[in-house]
Symmetry: C2
Subunit: 144 residues, 2 copies
DNA sequence: TACTTTCCTAGTGGTTTTATATGATTATAT
DNA sequence: ATATAATCATATAAAACCACTAGGAAAGTA
């Protein structure tokens, strides 16, 4: 029942971009330095986010990444799903293909359905903007 | 973010015992047959449940297992945790040893804490008795 | 004793995770 | 044009984890 590092790092990358959301492009090298993750590993993580249209990119000198939308338009769940796939606690809930042949008579499936719902409802109730506000508060606490 | 087969099978074993909760000992062989899981694999799953005091056992002919308490006294969460360990979505929430050095300044930890809470609150809100009632209802539906 | 059932330990093939490394491609600045 | 700086694509690999399989010891019953 663990979220993988890819999912966690994706969230940190997106939050880093949200904290530097001036419209300027942010080179991945800078994010890597701030977050303490190697550039090469980050490339693997941001690539699916780029393909999913979550970030805009520009190559070349003074290139980099920036958010494609407002921080409030990203739920944490939507970010995690790009890297993790469905956040379902069992495979039988993921797709119809994976559906268990005994689903109709399964006495535990409604339990798993309920768990699936509370997980997804929660991760979709928090946006990147919420995390930005939290980080801003943390930083001002630090100054005090 | 998946619950392993051990956790899912543990739940099915406990539910099977709850459905046959007459006080009689139930041989694992019978559960294995009903659930379509090999005996040898089930032994590995019920062993931690036995050591945790969740089931009582007796060896030898006409031996077997039975629940140690009433079905209403087991939350699904308590059963899953025996096989899965803590149901925390990140390692840093599991133990103080795993705590991240940057926990104090981490802008995502409160998000993960919230996810941890909704997961554990939910799994502890459902008991084995609830699943027994569900299965009984399913079976009577089937008869109709 | 013969049989049944739990209990204990070890091994194994496969997949996933978590990276690291190398290099190619593309775009910008000068 | 050239150098620079970034994205993009693959390949590799150690380590951990998963999902079993297997053999036999111990303990209880008939």
């Amino acid at each position: 029942m663990k979220v993988s590092t890819k999912g966690r790092y994706a969230l940190r990358i997106m939050l880093d971009l949200a904290m530097h959301n001036s419209g300027e492009l942010v080179p991945l090298k800078d994010i890597a330095r701030r977050q303490g993750i190697t550039l090469k590993y980050m490339e693997q993580i941001i690539s699916p986010l780029s393909k999913a249209g979550f970030v805009q990119s520009l190559r070349g000198s003074s290139g980099g990444y920036r958010l494609a939308r407002n921080p409030s338009d990203y739920t944490v769940g939507s970010i995690l799903r790009v890297l993790e796939g469905p956040l379902a606690p069992t495979a039988c809930l993921e797709t119809e293909i994976n559906e268990c042949p005994r689903a109709e008579s399964c006495p535990t499936i409604s339990f798993w359905n309920g768990l699936n719902k509370v997980i997804n409802d929660y991760v979709d109730s928090v946006t990147l903007e919420d995390l930005v506000n939290e980080e801003t508060a943390l930083q001002s606490d630090y100054v005090i």
